[in-house]
């Protein structure tokens, strides 16, 4: 203790024994190193407790006041701080503090730090031997590109793992872009009795040249001929499970939507949008017919447009 023990307690020489005790308790409450992590508080507490040790005994205090002993010689040889031991690994008083019961985090937590006694679970030793070191294997994360039809219909694909070896992966029917497939136990090897980790495959579904997808519905734009549009008829339409006959109604037009019930994914539909496609060349016959037809059957599909052309 460097300075005046009375000053360390915030007192003067005239303080009574009761005032000394009270002052020490006040400082200890605020600055005890096991309760206050601030280094300045620890320094204040050390000075105050050394001062208190010297002054609490009336005879010793009298000798100090008379100059027979000095403050220096009365310092405690060592003060034991519990905190120095408390953070150490393997401290038998270590306590769980709330993650063991967390449904989302308890596994991550116990992988890192193991399990500990809860409230009331005092006692050292226990069944856990610190030499039995169990850690679950690492989780692997990969991206997996799946073609449109495999994602829609389900199926199997083989992947090659970055660290070597390949793996057959079952693609569930109706897999969506951005979804994750978890392969339990296909991650890294664990240590001790810790099981292997899992592999997570984040799926990217490649676009299809014809099919698009909207939830469980499949969208397709179907080109039809001029005569199919005028006369109607049955045409073969591709679906994700193969071609299906579709009846085009008489007078069908571009943009008109037809629905194939149950031909989508998991009970969804296939929506077919019609698109009239002209023949590659307009021949003499067609041109002549249209000229005659136009004379008597003029119609204006633009009548509804508000902004005249």
């Amino acid at each position: 203790m460097a300075g005046d023990p009375y000053a360390a307690l915030g007192l003067t020489k005239s303080a009574t024994d009761a005032e000394i005790k009270k002052a020490y308790r006040r400082i200890a409450k605020a600055d005890h190193p096991d309760l206050n992590p601030d280094p300045a508080a620890t320094a204040r507490f050390k000075a105050a407790s050394a001062a208190y040790d010297l002054l609490k005994d009336p005879e010793q205090r009298r000798r100090f006041d008379a100059g027979e002993i000095d403050a220096q010689g009365q310092e405690r040889p060592q003060r034991r701080a519990w905190r120095d031991h408390a953070e150490a690994a393997g401290n038998p008083y270590a306590r769980s503090y709330g993650f063991d019961g967390d449904p989302d985090l308890s596994d991550v937590f116990s992988d890192l730090f193991g399990r500990r006694g809860g409230f009331g679970g005092f006692g050292r030793g226990g069944p856990e031997d610190p030499r039995d070191f169990h850690v679950r294997g690492q989780d692997y994360r990969f991206s997996l590109q799946v073609d449109f039809l495999t994602a829609a219909r389900g199926g199997k694909t083989r992947i090659t793992l970055p660290e070597g070896g390949d793996l057959e992966v079952t693609i569930p029917k109706g897999l969506r872009d951005g979804q994750t497939i978890r392969l339990k136990g296909k991650g890294g090897q664990g240590l001790g009795q810790g099981g292997p980790g899992d592999a997570y495959l984040t799926v990217a579904v490649a676009p299809h040249p014809d099919f698009r997808r909207e939830g469980d519905d499949i969208l397709l734009t179907l080109p039809i001929t001029l005569d199919e549009a005028v006369l109607g008829g049955k045409v073969a339409v591709p679906t994700i499970d193969g071609p299906v006959n579709l009846t085009i109604p008489k007078g069908a037009t571009t943009g008109q939507k037809l629905r194939l019930r149950g031909r989508g994914i998991n009970g969804g539909d296939q929506q077919v949008e019609l698109k009239i496609v002209m023949p590659a060349q307009v021949d003499e016959d067609l041109a002549r017919f249209m000229e005659g037809w136009r004379k008597d059957h003029r119609y204006d599909p633009r009548a509804g447009l508000k902004t005249g052309g």
């Binding site: 200890a28 409450k29 096991d34 953070e87 150490a88 008083y93 306590r95 503090y97």
Partner: protein, 117 residues
């Protein structure tokens, strides 16, 4: 092997500790002696813990049931602090890119940003 102290030695070393108080701490399970062929024994860490228990009893006049509660909270805090220290050291030794991701994630979860005006 850690040094062991008998009950008599512990009471002699710690000024504020007497046999009755030591027995009440053991009965309240706030300190747990090691069982040896020569009877209950205490480690250096137990000595430090007993010092804190004496301090808490002296400073706050805590009854033993309240002392058990306070020690449970202190133990939880110290365990969390030790875990946190280990985790921070592990994070510190990761490459910048990993530290950046962890920082972003922790900030999103723990720091509230208030938009100005």
């Amino acid at each position: 092997m850690a040094r062991h102290y008998s009950e008599t030695e512990v009471v002699a070393i710690l000024e504020d500790l007497d046999p009755a108080r030591l027995r009440s701490f053991v009965a309240a399970h706030v300190v747990t002696p090691v069982v040896t062929p020569d009877g209950p024994a205490f480690t250096d860490a137990d000595l430090a813990r007993l010092q804190l228990l004496c301090d808490l009893s002296e400073i706050y006049d805590l009854p033993t049931d309240a002392l058990a509660m306070v020690m449970s909270l202190i133990d939880q805090l110290n365990t969390a602090r030790g875990d946190m220290r280990a985790l921070i050291q592990a994070v510190a030794s990761e490459p910048d890119e990993v530290r950046g991701r962890i920082q972003t994630s922790v900030r999103r979860l723990r720091i509230v940003t208030v938009e100005q005006g």
